[in-house]
């Protein structure tokens, strides 16, 4: 069986893979471009077509894949550790569906057409709102099960509201726009999109990367963690806020991208000796790798309409998750 790897070596390896995929992502597209020439032209500040493709099309797409993937991987690892539940995902506390609702409201009322900022801001507000609702619903000293149930309830409510908006949509175009957005995609990403998602994701990362030790302590249960000096209500609040902010920022730019937050922590857990704190950084890099790879795959697939990356991650993620379940079932026997 695959075993534990030293942390510095693992992170180095993951960084190298993520870096290569990032460069790869700049290379591949509908138009094969000579990268060195494009780079040179970019630095020469000639606004040539090649330089424009690189800086205005390829670069934002790769950057957004990197940041959104890392956000999903990191949030998934933090959620699974906090709830001590291997089925937890970043969406569990309502952040993803809340972001979707906020973004859909922005699309629905057409304000997205007025300003490119209204969609992501709607997404972030929706994410924070839904998460806050879950938090308040579950109560300050909620047990894990109550939190999960509150998350399930709010998730169904937001999905119902999205369906309602689709149902009442004035034109089929609006419906199509919303449905396509909800599939999750990185095409049509601009640098502006990237700048919009950057502050929220960075702040979320900073908050999440600092809770590693507290999450380690939680391995031994809530009471033991508290006796070890962990302020549990504060920890929970911090993780909720950070996940809502980071996932909300990412999802409102990319649309719903499933399974990365759920699957990546599982893939990497054996390599960090199952320690939740050490999993955080590794899982962030793993999420970036997976989303970059999926986005490259989407571009390489010969299809009339470009397949949405959210569809690919779900198509690849679901069978892989099944495989994990079957494998762990064999272990427990």
């Amino acid at each position: 069986m695959l075993g534990e790897i030293r942390q510095s070596r693992l992170l180095g390896l993951l960084c190298a893979i993520a870096g290569s995929l990032f460069l790869f992502s700049l290379l591949f597209g509908s138009q094969a471009i000579p990268v060195f020439q494009a780079l040179q032209e970019t630095f020469d500040d000639t606004s040539s077509v090649l330089a424009l493709i690189l800086t205005e099309v390829r670069l934002p797409r790769a950057l957004i894949a990197l940041f959104a993937g890392a956000t999903l991987g990191l949030s998934g690892a933090a959620m699974q550790a906090m709830l001590r539940n291997p089925l937890a995902s970043p969406g569990l506390i309502g952040s993803a569906s809340g972001a979707a609702l906020g973004a859909v409201i922005a699309l629905y009322f057409g304000s997205a057409a007025l300003s490119q900022f209204s969609l992501p801001i709607g997404g972030i507000l929706g994410s924070l709102g839904a998460t806050l609702l879950v938090y308040l619903l579950a109560g300050r000293n909620a047990g894990t099960l109550t939190l999960i149930l509150a998350g399930v309830a709010i998730n169904s409510l937001t999905l119902a509201l999205i369906s309602l908006l689709l149902n009442l949509a004035p034109s089929p175009y609006a419906v199509q726009e919303i449905v396509l957005w909800m599939m999750g995609s990185l095409s049509n990403s601009s640098m502006d999109n990237f700048w919009i998602m950057l502050p929220g994701t960075l702040l979320g990362w900073m908050l999440l990367l600092r809770v590693g030790r507290a999450l380690d302590a939680l391995t031994l249960g809530e009471e033991t963690a508290q006796s070890m000096g962990i302020d549990l209500p504060r920890l929970r609040w911090r993780i909720f806020f950070a996940v809502a902010l980071a996932v909300g920022s990412a999802v409102s730019v990319t649309g719903a991208i499933g399974f990365i937050g759920l699957v990546v922590p599982h893939m990497l857990r054996p390599f960090v000796g199952y320690q939740p704190g050490r999993l955080l950084a590794a899982s962030a890099l793993g999420g970036a790798i997976l989303l970059l790879a999926a986005d490259i795959l989407v571009r390489l697939l010969p299809a009339q309409t470009e397949i949405k990356v959210g569809v690919v991650t779900a198509l690849v993620g679901a069978p892989f998750f099944l495989y994990l379940i079957i494998k762990s079932r064999r272990y427990s026997q």
């Binding site: 508290q226 320690q275 939740p276």
Partner: protein
């Protein structure tokens, strides 16, 4: 000057009193046994002392300081708590679990120092866990698990260890092993409060016992003074013949561990 002192500790849950004006005192080098029937409030008292829950009223002192005025991490360095049932949620290795015990001593971003490593190696040897150090926790037997969790608590080098039924579900030899580890911890100038249901172990290993009943202290003092036929009848609803031989049987353990 006692190490830990609680005065008039009271706690209620939804108007049901759990603790009613309980006093408790712990001296350096002492092992105090908390005994009493199920639901007497032993575990709740231990949780209050560990800072996991707060009492509704009463005063807790750690040394000369009020317990609630001590920062969480400092408290965690001085008081370690071993709950009754600890679930370990991920299949961590034995060594990694014991490393978790050092968390209260680490700087926010710091790594395990040389000294941390020494302490960890030390408790691994003391708990006789050397052959298991790289085994995942979920593959261990009950006795091994109990020793790992105790070693985790001891790795914090606490002045006070609060152990809630650490020998429940262990065989006689492992019970002695665990009680022996607690006794060694006391002999190093620390103190232990241990919740026990086995009255003979309590009488044998503890210098003092405190018998709780329905949230109140029924008796406290030397084992011989607490484990009287009257007290046992009142607390546990069990009858002990008032003869010297019956009391001797209760107060002494006649078996001992064969050293490997």
């Amino acid at each position: 000057m006692s190490l830990l002192r609680g005065t008039a500790l009271s706690l209620a849950f939804e108007n049901q009193p759990i603790l009613e004006a309980v006093d408790i005192e712990l001296d350096k080098g002492e092992m105090l046994g908390l005994i009493g029937p199920n639901g007497a409030g032993k575990s709740s008292l231990l949780r209050c002392l560990a800072g996991v829950i707060r009492t509704d009223s009463g005063v807790l002192h750690l040394g000369e300081q009020r317990l609630e005025n001590i920062p969480h991490t400092e408290r965690a360095r001085r008081i370690a708590y071993l709950p009754q049932q600890t679930e370990v949620h991920w299949p961590l290795s034995v060594k990694r679990i014991i490393e978790l015990g050092r968390i209260p001593h680490l700087e926010p971003w710091g790594k395990l120092s040389e000294r941390d490593q020494q302490v960890i190696e030390g408790v691994i040897v003391d708990a006789d866990l050397l052959p298991f150090r790289h085994r995942p926790f979920n593959t261990l037997s009950g006795g091994e698990r109990a020793r790992v969790l105790l070693a985790r608590a001891l790795a914090a080098e606490p002045e006070i260890l609060l152990a809630d039924e650490p020998v429940a579900a262990l065989d006689p030899a492992h019970q002695l092993d665990v009680m022996e580890m607690l006794a060694v911890h006391c002999s190093q100038g620390n103190a232990v409060i241990v919740v026990l249901h086995d009255l003979r172990l309590a009488a044998h290993f503890c210098q003092r016992l405190q018998l709780l009943q329905q949230g109140c202290t029924l008796a406290a003092g030397k084992p011989g003074e607490v484990l009287t036929p009257d007290n046992l009848e009142s607390a546990y609803q069990i009858h002990l013949p008032d003869t010297q031989s019956a009391i001797d049987t209760l107060l002494n353990i006649t078996w001992s561990r064969i050293k490997k």
